[in-house]
């Protein structure tokens, strides 16, 4: 865990700040003006090889193809459903993209308003039209459990380095957890354990800026759920 401290200090930038004036290329959320790279969003300055960009701290979720997201059915059409996936636009889910054979006009028999589904983003085109699918392994309607909503920019913290945080959460709380890239997280398990897991996730969002988060969360959960010894390291 110590090697983290070797990373350069995290510099918060706001729109218009100069990120680099020595000829680096603009990365994410950056643009060039008069040969200087400037930030176009508030976030943390991030240098990768010879590009400099900004990792946003806030902002709305913009889907990209391949993302797994959790959405809520918002509207029903004769051949599609409109799903709210916390993007600026609703995502239409066409009947061809669900694992059932649905007759025209029969959509509401399968999914109705308020149902929660796990989806995959198929594509997002030039005009930001989103298409999503439910035809893949693990994609389904979810029942039971609870939804925790966090900012999509904190999702990577909930998952952790190569999944360390999420596997620890799953092991220690004994819950089923599915994380959508859009910041919707589904937690299912014993009432008490799911409570703790949900609280832990909220805590991750709140303290996303601080270091040693995995240890802090571990401590937090241990206080509430006594752990058997064999659970300790959370490997799986």
């Amino acid at each position: 865990m110590e090697k983290r401290n070797a990373r350069q200090t995290r510099e918060i930038v706001v729109p218009g700040d100069i990120l680099d004036a020595s000829g680096m290329k603009p990365g994410e959320n950056a643009y060039v003006l008069d040969g200087k790279v400037r930030a176009s969003a508030m976030g943390v300055r991030n240098v990768f090889q010879n590009t400099v960009g900004v990792i946003p701290l806030r902002g709305c979720y913009m889907p990209s193809s391949g993302d797994t997201v959790i959405g809520v059915i918002e509207d029903i059409g004769p051949s599609n459903w409109l799903v709210n996936i916390n993007a600026p636009y609703p995502a239409p889910l066409h009947v061809n993209e669900v694992p059932w054979k649905v007759e025209f006009g029969d959509t509401s028999r399968y999914l109705s308003i308020g149902h929660v589904v796990i989806l995959k983003v198929l594509s997002v085109d030039e005009s930001r039209k989103i298409s999503v699918t439910m035809k893949d392994s693990g994609l389904r309607r979810i029942e039971g459990g609870r939804l925790v909503k966090i900012s999509h920019s904190k999702v990577s913290r909930v998952i952790g380095k190569s999944g360390s945080m999420i596997s620890m959460l799953k092991n220690m709380t004994d819950c089923r957890i599915t994380v959508g890239q859009n910041g919707m997280i589904w937690v299912d398990g014993d009432d008490e354990n799911a409570d703790v897991a949900a609280q832990a996730i909220m805590m991750i969002e709140e303290k996303a800026q601080s270091g040693n988060l995995t240890d802090k969360i571990k401590e937090f959960i241990e206080k509430r759920i006594p752990q058997d010894d064999d659970y300790d390291e959370g490997d799986e």
Binding site: R4, N5, R7, R10, I12, V14, P15, G16, D17, N29, Y31, L33, R38, S40, A41, M42, G43, P56, L57, R58, G59, C60, M62, P88, Y89, P90, S127, R128, S153, S156, R157, I159, G160, K161, S164, Q209, S210, G211, N212, L213, T214
Partner: protein, 248 residues
């Protein structure tokens, strides 16, 4: 601009009624992220002006006919509270607030990367809690901090401030008395990285030279406002305990 007074707005030493020099702005306080339910928000005090701005979006644009298939639109609503001025202001949109809403949204459109969100709408609500001249500048200052706080991609933050003329002197950031009994009021907003002007109005009369001087004063002051805006945004994240690193 309309009334007349025997009040001495600028004394023989060049001091103004609130103790400022001609080239001094009123004390400014900015706080970002004051509202929980909005995507972004800011609270601004410029002298006795108190302004709250909230941003929602980008989100689906309603009503539909306003949608632009190539970029997002910015819908701004400037609203003065009934208790914001000494005589009760009749609530609801009027000619003045519709105008201010329009110019503020046009100023913001110049910096927000609207083409990233076609068909969407970014809604900006500006509430004037207390007014003391210069609320459109305070409103725009607050709105641009709130937009940045909402994480909306934008080229720069827009600061705004007014310059004007009272008692024959060119003054920066007019207060209520100077605005009411002065000769001219020139609100300005700029893009600090390029010094482009995104808002410029003039009420009253000035000579060409006075106007040039007023612009000069206001552009300088805009850069000072800009620094305060940036500090307010950064303070939101540095207020938290030390951040040693990330493990993603």
């Amino acid at each position: 601009m309309s009334g007349h007074t025997d009040m001495v707005l600028v004394d023989e030493n060049g001091m103004r009624i609130d103790g400022r020099t001609a080239e001094e702005h009123r004390p400014i306080k900015i706080e970002a992220g004051v509202l929980n339910n909005a995507d972004g928000s800011a609270y601004v005090e410029i002298g006795k002006n108190k302004v709250l701005a909230a941003v929602y979006g980008p989100r689906e644009c309603h009503p539909r006919h306003l949608q632009n298939p190539t970029k997002a639109i910015i819908q701004c609503k400037y609203n003065m509270q009934a208790f914001s001025v000494s005589d009760r202001k009749r609530p609801g949109p009027d000619r003045r607030s519709i105008e201010i809403s329009k110019i503020i949204s046009e100023a913001l459109e110049k910096v927000v990367l609207t083409e990233l969100y076609p068909r969407a709408s970014i809604d900006v609500y500006i509430e004037i809690l207390q007014a003391n001249a210069g609320t459109r500048c305070a409103g725009l200052t607050a709105a641009s901090v709130a937009l940045a706080d909402a994480g909306i991609p934008m080229r720069d933050i827009v600061p705004a401030i007014a310059a004007g003329k009272a008692d024959g002197h060119v003054l920066l950031d007019l207060n209520k008395e100077e605005d009411n009994y002065g000769q001219a009021d020139v609100p300005i907003a700029i893009v600090p990285s390029t010094d482009e002007i995104v808002l410029l109005q003039m009420d009253g009369n000035m000579t060409r030279e006075e106007f040039d001087h007023a612009i000069e004063l206001a552009v300088d002051a805009c850069h000072q406002v800009y620094d305060i805006q940036k500090d307010a945004l950064k303070k939101r994240y540095s207020a938290k305990p030390a951040k040693e690193g990330a493990d993603e």
